[in-house]
């Protein structure tokens, strides 16, 4: 068997969780319609939820409180506006208030190009609330890393997945170079376009540091990265969510404060994601990343 892609890794990680860790997986129609892009294994511990998008999250949180560490599958992150209350108001607060815990593993899955309430990334909204650990794994190794971390932790995890990454088998590497003109930090689906954008820019003579963000909250950054950012003198954070009050601006602020460097942000425009191009308001891909860098560096 060759290397596993991300979807297969999620499925096998889940299988281990259900078969060996007494875990549960809750979600709507998870054992149909392609088993959530092949990420759900056919094994015990799967609970088909009825189409109840507030109570369903409550069931998952209740199961978490009694130690079952449930995976709670949300096919489209948009649905988390409905499912959010038990997660935000109970799971994420129960530790600080009562010293109890509700470690639920929220598989918040994103997509692109399928309309106004099936294409959104909401990790930025959840970053707003205290009590969550928030990550956006885009590779098999990253997924295994965050699962291991979850099993040692007692916080609810918001795991921001993206369908664009499901076939990915490769790991991402940061690039920090002495002669960089700008340091680009990327989260979620834009990461998949980082290498190509960087190549395009290099052809024009612009050299980029590329930093991949797995953990969005709590957000930490190594000394080496801050040094690289300082040396390059300019920063940019790119994310798949809306820019206003989103992860891109929030992390840009933290990096700016940590480095004293002006760090820009690029997320979605303040518009609805419509079905048809050019109004899809897609997450930044190569062209948009390149254009933003040129703009920051005042090129062309």
């Amino acid at each position: 068997m060759g290397k596993r892609n991300l979807a297969e890794t999620i499925r096998e990680t889940t299988r281990r969780h259900l078969e060996e860790e007494n875990g549960l997986l809750l979600g709507q129609s998870v054992s149909a319609v392609g088993w959530v892009n092949g990420t759900v294994p056919d094994t015990r511990g799967i609970v088909e939820l009825p189409m109840t998008d507030v109570a369903g999250a409550g069931f998952a949180v209740g199961a978490a409180m009694v130690g079952r560490r449930p995976f709670f599958v949300i096919r489209f992150q948009d649905f988390l506006v409905l499912n959010g209350s038990p997660l935000i108001n109970y799971a994420a607060k129960v530790k600080e208030l009562h010293g109890q815990s509700a470690p639920v593993f929220i598989r918040a899955i994103a997509a692109e190009g399928i309309g106004p309430v099936h294409s959104t990334v909401l990790h930025g909204m959840f970053m707003h609330f205290p009590g969550f650990k928030i990550c956006a794994p885009m590779s098999p190794g990253e997924y295994e890393k965050i699962y291991t971390s979850f099993m040692k932790d007692d916080d609810p995890y918001y795991v921001s997945e993206h369908r664009f990454a499901y076939q990915n088998k490769e790991e991402f590497e940061d690039i920090i170079r002495d002669d960089a003109d700008i340091t680009i930090f990327l989260a979620s689906s834009p990461r998949l376009f980082a290498a190509e954008a960087s190549k395009t820019l290099e052809k024009e003579g612009t050299k980029c540091n590329i930093i991949h963000l797995l953990w969005l909250k709590p957000f930490t950054c190594s000394e080496a990265v801050i040094r690289g950012l300082k040396k390059s003198g300019k920063g940019l954070v790119i994310d798949a969510g809306h820019e206003i009050c989103g992860a891109s601006r929030s992390i840009a602020y933290e990096l700016g404060m940590a480095s004293g460097v002006m760090v820009h942000a690029l997320g979605l425009k303040d518009h609805t994601k419509c079905l048809c191009p050019p109004l899809q308001n897609k997450a930044p891909e190569v062209d948009e990343i390149v254009a933003k860098v040129r703009n920051i560096l005042k090129l062309k």
Binding site: L24, V47, L49, P50, T52, V54, A55, G56, A57, G58, F59, A60, V61, G62, A63, A64, M65, V66, G67, R68, P70, S85, P86, N89, Y90, K93, V94, E96, L97, H98, G99, Q100
Partner: protein, 307 residues
């Protein structure tokens, strides 16, 4: 079904219980009543500065639960001093929670409407202030550990979007959950008849749950709780009268019925007047000590030191 103090209460039911049981019910009712009397006095004296949600008037049902299902994991709502106290959590910890002290049951961080207690075999989870949020949580816990679970909510909370599907999910998965609606006929100040045309018993029955609609006579509650505890998931609607305002210590006129005094009267009829009076006096004294001025007026630094 018409709301009344004797809704589905069999005549003479109290006589079918042992004197010990009747007195134990009374003891529990007194614990809630006199604890809260102390709290009310402390609030009026300005010694508590946070909001409280009082159970007085409704305490009979919790007293009954505490005699038969006190090992259940409980997912209670905002008005839950009665469950906390009758199920055996320490009144001192409730007192200090109401005062926002680190010696409170949630270290003073959560307050009257968010009570939790997880010691001495008790598993009481509360909500965080969103009415009925505890209901799906309790159902999820029952799914997770298959333990008998009590989910309590009010007649207003019963209307929240997530309550009906919780009954449905418990029915589908045959979860051991007892759902209880403490029906005082008010959501804050809005009467049920103004809010909806349907009743919760019919909703529960439509999901296939056995359901009863009864007044808060503690013997009746005890009987039905025992019966339904072998047929979970099940639903009980209990007609109660809230003694105080929705929040705080105000009182609006006289109670529709006064269960506390009705029970006292019934104990007299059962020939238990002396014993009941002794219990009442001793509980009253205990609660006076818990709320003693020396404790409340001790400077905060000294109290924290003691803790």
């Amino acid at each position: 079904m018409q709301r009344s103090c004797d809704l589905n209460v069999e005549k003479g039911i109290a006589e079918s219980f042992s004197p010990e049981t009747s007195l134990a019910l009374w003891q529990k009712m007194c614990e809630v009543r006199y604890f809260e009397q102390g709290a009310v006095d402390a609030i009026k004296a300005g010694e508590i500065n946070y909001q409280v949600y009082l159970s007085s008037g409704q305490e009979a049902a919790a007293a009954s639960f505490s005699l038969c299902i006190n090992k259940y994991q409980v997912f209670a709502q905002h008005r839950a001093h009665d469950i906390f106290l009758t199920f055996g959590a320490p009144p001192e910890m409730l007192r200090d929670e109401l005062r926002g002290l680190p010696s409170g049951c949630s270290r003073g961080r959560a307050g009257s409407n968010c009570l939790q207690y997880h010691e001495n075999g008790m598993h009481m989870y509360g909500h965080h202030g969103l009415i009925a949020e505890n209901v799906p949580l309790g159902v999820g816990a029952a799914l997770g550990n298959n333990k008998q679970t009590l989910c309590i909510f009010g007649d207003g909370s019963a209307e929240e979007d997530y309550v009906s599907p919780s009954l449905g999910f418990a029915a589908t998965h045959k979860l051991p959950v007892l759902f209880v609606c403490m029906d005082n006929n008010y959501s804050i100040l809005t009467k049920t008849e103004v809010r909806r045309s349907w009743n919760m018993n019919e909703v529960a029955k439509s999901y296939g749950l056995p359901a009863v609609d009864i007044a808060d006579d503690p013997w009746t509650v005890l009987k039905h709780t025992r019966e339904l505890s072998t047929q979970l998931p099940a639903f009980i609607n209990i007609r109660v009268c809230r003694g105080y305002w929705h929040a705080g210590v105000g009182i609006d006129g006289t109670l529709e019925w006064d269960r506390f005094n009705m029970v006292k009267h019934e104990l007299n009829e059962l020939g238990l007047a002396d014993k009941a009076a002794k219990i009442e006096t001793s509980v009253c004294k205990k609660m006076e000590q818990i709320w003693a001025k020396e404790i409340l007026l001790k400077p905060l630094e000294k109290q924290l030191e003691d803790i």
